[in-house]
Symmetry: C2
Subunit: 120 residues, 2 copies
């Protein structure tokens, strides 16, 4: 096997601050929005899991042919953690990865607390 030939993907990890509470408390509008962004960026969705916590935030994970993205919200702290991981197997997806991350950030009208890019 040719471990050395593996083409690393870009994984963006971010912690965001948002005061838009309505965006932090219901997974459904986020999923609808992010599905549009997935299509817009030429990616394809395999499935998703979403869950609204009682009186709290939500968790949403979308599995993509190109890997996955996740969002975990903490309205009690005004915090969103998100990660977007896209492989570069079939084509270079690093622009799509950054676009998708920025679209998520914009959905929450969020400020960036911390963002890091990991190639893996």
């Amino acid at each position: 096997m040719k471990t050395k030939d593996y083409q690393k993907g870009l994984h963006i990890l971010a912690e965001l601050s948002s005061e838009n509470l309505s965006r932090l408390t219901d997974a459904a509008p986020f999923i609808q929005y992010v599905q549009e962004q997935i299509i817009k960026n030429g990616l394809s969705q395999l499935g998703d899991v979403q869950h609204n916590f009682d009186g709290g935030g939500f968790t949403a994970v979308v599995c993509l042919t190109e890997s996955h993205l996740s969002v975990h919200t903490w309205p009690e702290y005004g915090i969103v953690t998100t990660d977007v991981y896209l492989s570069n197997f079939m084509k270079d997806n690093q622009d799509a990865c950054r676009n998708l991350y920025k679209a998520i950030r914009d959905f929450f009208e969020a400020e960036e607390i911390n963002v890091q890019e990991v190639w893996r």
Copy 2:
């Protein structure tokens, strides 16, 4: 909102090398195994998405009350990328996070190429 009071969670990101091809090509045994590990570590599953690629590897994402874990396999390169992210909202889950990661590594009988811990 009290952004400063947010308790960061541990996110482990790893790239693994495995020669056990049967483990890299079917999501179902992995999901069954990891569900047992989730219970063993006192965590709770919300749902999962799994997909076997034609003639290739698989992608599996498990959404947890405590955040999520993912696995993407590349049998053609003998590579597995995995991440395990557990919040510390209700209790300190860092031991569970490391245990779960090690259980995933052991499932694939894998060598570690790169492992990093990110607090977020």
